[in-house]
């Protein structure tokens, strides 16, 4: 018995070490970006920054915050995220509610037609041609309309609606309510948790989305943060701020790029506690079948 206990102790220690290491590997890259963005040019050049900022320096952030382009792209992202998410939640609810009703005539064929789109799609080019034909290219509608309903989310929502007792709907019928009123006054108030989950789910995907904007928008003024960030951080395009960065001996392009990365992660970090709570539930609900 004593021997097993000792072996257990060793196991626990090794396990803890491995998990701490995993945690470190996950966090360190982000931490490193943060501390470098806050360090002085000399220390970055010397490459001696490892766990804390050295030569504490926030000039990069000052330049980033003084950049109109960045503010504009933030405003764009906010616009796409808010309007996109409102469309998402409304459309997903309107699709999920009728399909959740077992007495809905046509439920089976409509469900099939819709779920089929999860498995077959026309692909990148045909969708692009449709958006072009609708004259949506280079407008915000090209960003917010094509992903209006995520079929996967819709199924999660439908499953959640199905769990509301049918007796509530029936008594509302007796009181003379129609289906639209029932959805608004009974189903939606009872579904606040799933609506909150969906709102977060969609909002994060809009916030992080980059490919549609790259594909459909030409106008720099319409770029969301993610596309601008690609230009600055990955392609190294500093045209908007190169003057400020070059003339400031305290900072390097590195500071500037890392500061841009950090300010784009901050909103996600702020809502992360909420996200974690709702999303882990969402993953589990999603385990149900279509």
């Amino acid at each position: 018995m004593l021997k097993t206990r000792k072996a257990n102790g060793v196991f626990d220690i090794v396990n803890t070490i491995i998990l701490v290491l995993v945690g470190f590997i996950t966090l360190y890259p982000m931490w490193y970006i943060l501390i470098v963005s806050l360090s002085s040019a000399q220390h970055i050049n010397a490459g001696d920054i490892s766990f804390w900022p050295r030569g504490f320096n926030i000039s990069a952030y000052k330049i980033v915050f003084a950049n109109d382009k960045i503010w504009r792209s933030y405003a764009n992202t906010l616009l796409y995220t808010v309007s996109g998410t409102i469309i998402n939640v409304l459309m997903t609810t309107m699709c999920a509610y009728p399909l959740s009703r077992k007495d809905f005539y046509g439920r089976k064929p409509l469900t099939m037609i819709i779920t089929l789109t999860m498995f077959v799609s026309g692909g990148m080019i045909p969708l692009y041609l449709v958006i072009m034909k609708l004259h949506l290219l280079n407008t915000m509608w090209a960003i917010v309309l094509p992903p209006a309903i995520s079929t996967y989310n819709m199924i999660v929502m439908r499953t959640s609606f199905e769990s509301i007792p049918i007796s509530l709907t029936e008594s509302a019928y007796l009181d003379g309510a129609n289906d639209i009123q029932i959805m608004q006054k009974i189903i939606m108030p009872l579904s606040k948790p799933i609506l909150a989950t969906m709102t977060l789910f969609y909002a994060v995907s809009h916030w992080n989305s980059f490919f549609p904007a790259m594909l459909y928008l030409n106008d720099q003024d319409k770029y969301p943060v993610q596309v601008l960030m690609r230009d600055i951080v990955i392609a190294g395009d500093m045209t908007s701020d190169s003057g400020d960065v070059a003339s400031n001996i305290n900072i390097l392009a590195t500071n500037y790029k890392y500061a841009v990365i950090i300010i784009s992660i901050i909103p996600i970090l702020l809502v992360y506690p909420l996200l974690q709570k709702h999303f882990t539930k969402g993953v589990m609900v999603g385990a149900v079948k279509g």
Partner: protein
């Protein structure tokens, strides 16, 4: 249809009138943004011309399919897609399972929660940020090269060498998704009967024996379903990351079908050619998914539909 049945249908439809009204917009959405593009796949069989539109462009049959199958570069792109997916599954698939098992063995709740919170986080970081970090950490004066120089090696511009691309892609994918995917296995692990675990302990099994003989077999159905589904989704490799990380000097290993479609179609304006290539990818993807689903049905009676 008999008159009686017709009357019944009409009555039912009238009863559900408001439900149809609610569904008008969603249905319109599915038609415009899913079914019309599905129809748009016909441009693969036509010589699409923007001015003429889909309907008036002339049919050319399999011209574009013959064209791409005869190009060696196309097969290289197909090979890259499969290899990148395969390595992604080979290295990436076991990590969340191991992570879940290790987390499950932790007795201190707080520590477990902290590690979970940390490992789920990358799932919410955008692809652009992940790639931005990679580009900078892997640059000649980035973190990785500083470590290498510190150990006496020479700095390398990793993203310029085709031989490192897959490693970078796979490793960063693990970083992004391992924690998040472990949720599914953790959920399966909580379903294990505590009595069975206690019985194993009384029989003298140590922790590793218990993991190997009780825990892992208990979640094998979930593992096999997940594996089959992953294999079924092999063609849907995340291309955004490739698009952000690759460059002319790494196309040799980095260029996959989706990025090729993007370059030829959108940037090169060869809409018909790119649609044909995309259709090839979709068809293989659907076939793989059907196979995966059939296998999964046979093995564990769980299926996608």
């Amino acid at each position: 249809m008999s008159r009686h049945a017709k009357g019944y249908a009409r009555k039912q439809m009238k009863r559900c009138k408001y439900l149809y009204i609610i569904m008008i917009l969603p249905l319109l959405y599915y038609i415009v943004f899913h079914y019309v593009p599905l129809y748009g796949v016909v441009v693969a069989f036509k010589d699409y011309n923007i001015v003429k539109g889909i309907l008036k462009s002339p049919w050319v049959g399999l011209k574009y399919f013959q064209k791409f199958v005869s190009e060696p570069y196309f097969w290289k792109v197909v090979r890259n897609t499969f290899l990148m997916s395969l390595y992604n599954i080979l290295w990436g698939f076991p990590v969340p399972i191991i992570l879940a098992v290790l987390l499950n063995e932790v007795t201190r709740k707080r520590f477990k929660k902290v590690i979970q919170s940390i490992t789920y986080l990358p799932h919410f970081i955008s692809t652009v940020v992940v790639c931005g970090m990679l580009v900078n950490l892997l640059s000649t004066d980035g973190l990785i090269n500083q470590v290498i120089k510190g150990l006496g090696g020479t700095a390398k511009q990793f993203l310029m060498y085709p031989q490192y691309f897959r490693t970078i892609y796979v490793a960063s994918s693990i970083w992004q998704s391992a924690g998040w995917t472990s949720i599914i296995y953790l959920a399966a692990l909580t379903g294990i009967d505590q009595e069975v675990l206690d019985a194993a302990t009384i029989d003298g099994a140590n922790r590793i024996q218990r993991i190997w003989n009780v825990t892992i077999p208990a979640i094998t159905p979930v593992i096999s379903t997940m594996l089959i589904m992953n294999l079924g989704k092999m063609m849907n490799l995340g291309y955004e990351k490739v698009l952000l990380l690759y460059n002319g000097s790494t196309y040799e290993t980095a260029d996959i079908i989706s990025t090729y479609v993007y370059r030829r179609g959108i940037l090169g304006n060869s809409f018909s050619y790119a649609t044909a290539v995309g259709l090839f990818q979709s068809v293989i993807g659907v076939v793989l998914l059907l196979i995966a689903n059939a296998v999964s049905k046979k093995l564990s009676e769980t299926s996608l539909w």
